[in-house]
């Protein structure tokens, strides 16, 4: 490895035998290949469309919703779906469709907040653990093991029990349970990278460990971490909905989908729409993220081929 093959230069050098020589080249190569192949699979496209719709609905919720999601209309309680109320009304006469539309914002809020917390934490723990190895690795991995030895919903339940119910506490609890798989993944990737030529090259140039991890190892782990995060989103939605269902997530009158199912349960036998509609919404979004995650993995992860 010659000194002039620093990552900045290597990025501009044509790639040899298809192997990316730096993170710049790797990212560009991945991106091109991904876009081409992502749109090949109809299931992935379906997932993409649903996720895009979720984003749009959340963004334009006030314009899409036909009613105020919190406005009560006690003359029109528990009405079956009709032209005025597309998905019917709940026990306070609130429009179920409008509540679902506004609920998409809560779902997105939970997913993005958890992902924003979990991604960096998992990456940091995993890369540091994998790069330094030895005692650091042992300590970090033991901690990860402890968190992995609970089913995520149960651990989240315990945390929410300690913190008290509420949407933000639910987000924190889910984040606390969701980082270990990311950390493990990042560690596994780092273990493969730490002796790679380009890492040794920057080490010889005198780069600090922090710089190597942040500028060279983290970007190489990103694609697999992003796949994992996307696939996790489905699980996050289900856990958040489960917490909401148990009355430990978003509190009423927030139109959170799980909480809507929970309150609708009392009227379930006469008013199926109170339970069915939010459930379908959760299932669709969760399915979409699963499809998208699957598609991303097929595209970005060469091992799955």
């Amino acid at each position: 490895m010659t000194p002039e093959l620093s990552p900045a230069i290597a990025a501009s050098v044509p790639q040899q035998n298809g192997q990316p020589q730096s993170r710049g080249a790797a990212l560009r190569q991945n991106l091109q290949r991904s876009l081409r192949r992502l749109t090949h699979n109809p299931m992935t496209v379906a997932g993409l469309i649903v996720v895009a719709m979720l984003l749009l609905v959340a963004l334009f919720a006030p314009w899409i919703a036909t009613h105020d999601p919190l406005a009560q209309d006690l003359n029109n309680t528990l009405k079956a779906p009709d032209a005025a109320h597309w998905f019917g009304t709940d026990e306070y006469g609130r429009d179920v469709f409008s509540r679902l539309v506004h609920g998409s914002r809560i779902t997105l809020y939970v997913i993005s907040l958890v992902t924003v917390i979990v991604g960096p934490v998992g990456l940091a723990v995993g890369t540091i653990s994998g790069y330094f190895g030895g005692k650091v690795d042992t300590v970090f991995m033991r901690i990860t093991d402890i968190f992995i030895s609970f089913p995520s919903l149960v651990l989240a339940l315990a945390f929410v029990a300690a913190l008290g119910p509420g949407l933000d506490h639910a987000v924190m609890a889910i984040a606390l349970t969701a980082w270990p798989p990311i950390a493990r993944l990042a560690r596994a990737e780092t273990l493969q990278l730490r002796k790679a030529d380009f890492v040794v090259a920057v080490q010889l140039q005198g780069a600090s460990s922090t710089r190597i991890i942040v500028r060279h190892i983290v970007p190489m782990c990103l694609s697999s971490v992003v796949i994992r995060l996307t696939m996790n989103m489905a699980g996050i939605i289900l856990t958040a909905a489960g917490l909401g269902f148990l009355g430990l997530g978003a509190l009423p009158p927030m139109p959170e989908w799980g909480a809507m199912i929970s309150t609708g349960r009392r009227y379930m036998l006469e008013c199926w729409w109170l339970v069915a509609m939010p459930g379908v919404a959760i299932m669709l979004v969760s399915l979409a993220f699963n499809l998208l995650g699957d598609g991303l993995r097929d595209v970005l992860d060469p091992r799955s081929e």
Binding site: R142, I143, D145, I146, F147, S149, F150, P151, S152, L153, V154, L155, L157, A158, F159, V160, A161, A162, L163, G164, A234, L238, A241, G242, F245, L246, G247, L248, G258, I261, R265, M268, L269, W272, V275, A276, P278, G279, I282, M283, S286, L287, N290, L291, D294
Partner: protein
């Protein structure tokens, strides 16, 4: 797996020892975690005992008796000591020791989870094998869609829909609880498994009623495991089917059924066993939700009702137990590999 086995020394004993050491460490961490969660709780544990009307001296007395004036590590050692004596404290709701409560409700959950894992295994494995043999064709896609739905459906919602359709509309399923009200409490628990107990006593009416109540929640709880097991089976089978001994078997002219079931499938059995063991642990998570939906008097309902009451002794006891079961199942999965797969020796 095969590679790591080659690198390790042949003595399985050292490996087992190291593994047990790791497990012990994980367990200690588990305890520390539940202890810590119990500590950060904003509720005052003393207030829960003495009530809001107690005067300061009573409060201080209880505060001292609970060891709360001691440093954290001393409190933790008390906690460990209590645990080793099988004492998880008393539950607020029942006033009885948490350990006894859990013992009472646990069989109901075990019965549900066992039924679910049986269903999940019996449906998931054939589906996975089928998908693997039809790779890339229609059958494969159908199985993929089924398993994706299994992954994506909120289990509590699916349970409610099941109740609505099969209980309220069609009247096929038994509805809430473990057994019809008329039969409730008729059977004195021996194993705690209602199906086994009623069958042993020859109470076939109770057995039928219990089965009617059990089948629907078990099916719904088993959906997620069906999805997972079928996916893993497919992946394992594909790995086997691409190997040369399969080609050899086919060239020899063996029937496709023999090739798939006697050759490929036998080689994935150990992997499948470990997957089933791990899935069983995950069922406990679904059980927490499904038991709430079906008013199933088990462990999950006990956990959630204690949770809503802020009964931390009971909650932490339950969480700890689930953690223990998880660690144990992981260990079991490992041991299964060691025993049944000669390559790991």
């Amino acid at each position: 797996m095969a590679v790591s086995a080659l690198r390790l020394p042949p003595g399985g004993l050292q490996r087992l020892g190291r593994r047990l050491g790791t497990v012990a460490l994980t367990l200690l961490g588990l305890l520390a975690l539940t202890f810590f969660i119990g500590r950060v709780m904003p509720l005052d544990p003393v207030l829960a005992v003495v009530g809001p009307d107690a005067d300061q001296s009573t409060y201080d007395q209880v505060f001292k008796r609970m060891g709360l004036d001691q440093p954290m590590y001393v409190q933790f050692s008390y906690y460990l000591n209590d645990l080793l004596h099988g004492d998880l404290g008393n539950a607020l709701l029942t006033g009885l020791p948490v350990v006894g409560d859990i013992k009472r409700v646990f069989p109901a959950t075990m019965e549900l989870a066992t039924m679910a894992i049986i269903l999940g295994t019996c449906i998931g494995i054939p589906l996975g094998v089928f998908a693997a043999t039809r790779r890339g064709k229609m059958g494969d896609h159908v199985v993929r869609v089924i398993s994706l739905f299994g992954y994506s459906t909120p289990v509590f919602w699916f349970g409610m829909m099941g109740l609505l359709v099969f209980y309220a509309w069609l009247g096929w399923a038994g509805g809430a609880g473990r057994v019809d009200l008329a039969y409730d409490g008729l059977i004195t628990p021996v194993t705690g498994f209602l199906l086994i107990d009623s069958a042993m006593l020859g109470e076939w009416e109770v057995f039928a009623s219990a089965f009617k109540h059990l089948f629907l929640p078990a099916c719904i709880l088993g959906l997620h495991s069906t999805a997972y097991i079928s996916r893993m089976t497919r992946a394992f089978m594909l790995a086997q089917l691409s190997q040369e001994y399969i080609l050899t078997a086919r060239v020899k002219g063996l029937s496709e059924r023999t090739v798939i079931w006697r050759h490929a499938f036998r080689n994935i059995l150990v992997q499948l066993l470990t997957i089933v063991a791990l899935t069983y642990g995950n069922l406990l998570e679904g059980a927490v939700l499904i038991e709430t939906v079906f008013a199933w008097p088990g462990f999950g309902q006990y956990l959630t009702s204690s949770l809503l009451l802020g009964d931390m002794n009971a909650v932490m006891g339950c969480v700890l137990l689930i953690g223990l079961i998880f660690v144990f199942l992981n260990l079991l999965a490992d041991a299964l590999y060691q025993v049944f797969d000669p390559r790991t020796r």
